[in-house]
């Protein structure tokens, strides 16, 4: 691997990382559920691209395997599974009012990325130089942004995609620092992601059927002392009459 080509591959990998980060930001901020799905697919493609580029850079066939697994499972099977399991309504949903407004969300997301940098730096310093790279911090940022998506979203589909985005983030770091994981494990994790989609899709369908909405985050009947509230409400109603 000549220096110039290596430099080019590293820069392309870093570019994939930058766009990966941007896609993660987009998933925090996008209103449309459909847009969120597209961003997730983009993110997965970028993950696969990064794996392939690193594979090319360090001559690791194993990373090609990771790229192929990611290329097949996330951009193709996940949307297909979603269509099969979850109600079509989830695609059309928009979150007009998020828990936090979008600019605030983006600022918090930025703060999380800075945090990711501080988490990533010591890790980067203590691995061998061939494992270093922008992947470590960007992966952590992806993980944190995915987790943040989970906390601010209410719609079923963005929540589900947030879970998968977290996994993407963890993997984005993984392809840099632990690139010799057994292939079987990679396959199992990918399958696991598909089961996540399946189960959450089925749950979403059930929620939509029984609660009439896919805004699962707005379901909030279960709280401390929730069981008393209907009785209290009934009493208050009686008093009001």
């Amino acid at each position: 691997m000549s220096g110039a080509t290596g430099q080019l591959l590293e820069n392309l990998n870093a570019l994939a990382g930058g766009l990966f980060l941007l896609a993660a930001f987009g998933m925090v901020a996008t209103r449309q559920a459909r847009g969120c799905l597209n961003l997730f697919i983009t993110q997965s493609l970028l993950l696969a691209a990064s794996a392939a580029l690193l594979g090319l850079r360090y001559g690791s066939e194993h990373l090609y395997g990771v790229a192929v697994v990611n290329l097949i499972s996330k951009p193709i099977i996940v949307p297909w599974l979603l269509r099969k399991t979850s109600p079509g309504e989830v695609y059309t949903r928009r979150e007009v009012e998020q828990v936090l407004n979008i600019p605030t969300s983006l600022l918090i997301a930025l703060a999380l990325v800075v945090l990711a940098y501080f988490l990533g730096r010591p890790i980067s310093n203590s691995v061998a130089s061939q494992f270093r790279g922008p992947n470590i911090a960007i992966g952590i940022a992806g993980l944190l942004l995915g987790a943040y998506t989970l906390t601010v979203r209410r719609e079923a589909l963005p929540l589900l995609l947030g879970v998968l985005a977290m996994e993407n983030g963890a993997f984005f770091t993984g392809i840099a620092i632990s690139r010799n994981l057994p292939m079987l494990v990679e396959l199992a994790i990918a399958t696991d992601g598909l089961i996540v989609v399946f189960i959450m899709g089925v749950l979403t369908r059930a929620v939509q059927k029984h609660a009439g909405t896919t805004a699962v985050g707005e379901l909030a009947t279960l709280k401390e002392a929730a069981a008393e509230s209907p009785a209290q409400a009934a009493k208050e109603e009686a008093l009001a009459k």
Partner: protein, 514 residues
């Protein structure tokens, strides 16, 4: 070889229950399969306790990652024990409802898959594979939690899945970093728990610490440690009672086992602060749960909070670090599993009898159903650590280990919280079982129809009205059988620990301390 059979039995059972035969078929298959599992795991545990070598599968292909040591055998034993009693309890619990055969098959198929995923946790020795089966436990049990298909159950299930997966994402990152640490140590050992311990002294401390914190927080979410516990009371109260017994009794324990596996690794590494983390999170969990227990209004929720408390106790005990404390923690794991499953059976029986989960709506249970009342009292006493029951003995040995170590503050706080939890639970149980009956209360009759509709746990309740409410549903025979079976270890382990079990506990505790 027997290890492989352990993994195969639940899978075969899953396949078998899917065959559309009579209603009794899936029930029988599940009970028989889990009983067989229990016999097998007892056999393995017995051999290990007698000083036998680690049980592993032949080292070919991916089977090289399968092996069971003392700690693993203990967890597997508990899982199969609770799985068996819960399978027996399920017969009566579900038979009581007029479920469609398809729904029944779905329940049992999920049940056996869930058992498979849990059994696989201690059996696998490769951390990333363990992560996968941990995630599988969530996914296999999600549909069990939402089995009743009420809005509340679905909400609980969704929260459960979402937060567990959130934690799982962090844990995945932790395991990947752990793998990187393993690589960085230059060790030629395989990436297994024992290989990790061997490589730990040469791992870069930063990587190891990062991995540990992410794994602790990530899996701690699924264990129900306090800042991340919010889903637990919902999921553990909305699921059908036998599933609750599994979730609370053994699932949390099995996940906690994975965290515990990290401790010897951390101890092998220089200046790690794993013990401090464990004590901190443990005490916070115990304390918060103890105070929350005082104000619960749902008796299944009450037992769910008690699970949070006990997980905290175990983690604190492990954090104390001595072999005596570790032994106590192992004892506590056993005691908690058998007792908590019994508690949820008792709660399930009560639910069958009265048809509501609300504490305020149930009074003088002992008159309406002596069996359910007695079981609930026994369960309440047992789980809060009243002597001479199993939890008392284990908590006592943990506190003793703390005092002999002169960790007075930790031990003192732990003792105070345990006492508060005792009062919290016994207050509610006392009200339910012995409190003034409905006839004495003026508003009791008004409340109930509302509550009945709010918590339709069983179809019999959907046609709920005050008259049916007053009549007492009998507890099915199989439920009674399960209660009796589950009560045996609760009563026995408080006064006598058999020699093989003692050896097994010592072996397991030995795996925890370096």
């Amino acid at each position: 070889m027997s290890v492989l059979i352990i993994l195969l039995i639940p899978l075969v059972a899953t396949a078998l229950v899917c065959i559309p035969l009579k209603r009794a078929w899936p029930m029988a298959v599940t009970v028989v399969a889990n009983a067989a599992l229990l016999v097998l795991t007892t056999n393995i545990a017995w051999r290990l306790a007698a000083g036998g070598p680690f049980v592993s599968a032949p080292p070919v292909w991916m089977l090289k990652w399968i092996s069971v040591d003392g700690l693993g055998a203990l967890i597997v034993l508990l899982i199969s024990l609770v799985a068996t009693t819960a399978a027996i309890f399920s017969i009566g619990y579900l038979g009581h409802e007029n479920l469609a055969p398809g729904k029944l098959r779905l329940y049992y198929a999920n049940y056996n898959l869930f058992i498979f995923s849990m059994v696989a946790i201690p059996v696998l020795a490769e951390p990333t594979l363990v992560w996968i089966v941990v995630e599988l436990t969530t996914l296999c049990s999600a549909l069990l939690v939402s089995f009743d298909n009420t809005t509340e159950a679905l909400e609980a299930s969704w929260k459960y899945v979402l937060l567990s997966l959130l934690g799982a994402g962090f844990a995945l990152f932790g395991f990947l970093v752990l793998f990187a640490a393993m690589q960085a140590s230059g060790s030629s050992q395989p990436y297994t728990w024992s290989g990790l311990i061997a490589a730990a002294p040469r791992m870069p401390p930063v990587l190891l610490q990062t991995a540990f914190v992410f794994i602790l927080v990530g899996l701690g979410t699924k264990v129900g440690l306090v800042p991340m516990h919010t889903w637990l009371p919902d999921a553990h109260s909305q699921a059908p009672s036998p599933v609750c017994a599994l979730l609370s009794g053994v699932e949390t324990t099995a996940i906690l086992y994975v965290i515990l596996r990290m401790f010897p690794v951390m101890q092998a590494a220089p200046n790690s602060h794993a013990d401090a983390w464990a004590i901190l999170l443990g005490l916070i969990s115990v304390g918060t749960a103890a105070f929350l227990l005082l104000q619960v209004s749902d008796y299944k929720r009450m037992f769910a909070f008690s699970t949070v408390e006990h997980m905290g106790v175990i983690l604190t005990a492990v954090g104390l670090g001595t072999s005596a404390a570790s032994y106590g923690a192992m004892q506590q794991i056993v005691a908690h599993s058998v007792t908590k499953s019994f508690c949820f059976f008792a709660a399930g029986a009560t639910l069958l009898v009265v048809g509501t989960r609300e504490i305020a709506a149930v009074r003088s249970l002992i008159r309406r159903s002596p069996a359910a009342g007695a079981a609930l009292v026994l369960g309440g006493l047992a789980i809060t650590g009243a002597p001479p029951l199993a939890v008392f003995l284990s908590e006592f040995s943990i506190l003793k280990a703390g005092v002999t170590q002169s960790r007075y503050i930790v031990t003192g706080l732990l003792a105070v919280f345990i006492v508060i939890a005792f009062f919290g639970i016994m207050l509610h149980v006392n009200r339910i079982v012995f409190g003034a009956s409905d006839e004495d209360r003026t508003d009791g009759l008004e409340d109930k129809p509302i509550d009945g509709k709010k918590h339709p746990d069983t179809p019999s309740q959907q046609s709920n009205n005050p008259i049916i409410q007053q009549s007492v549903n009998p507890i099915p025979l199989s439920c009674k059988l399960a209660l009796v079976l589950a009560s045996v270890p609760v009563l026995l382990l408080g006064v006598y620990i058999p020699k093989p079990l003692h050896d097994l506990l010592a072996l397991a505790a030995g795996a925890l301390t370096k």
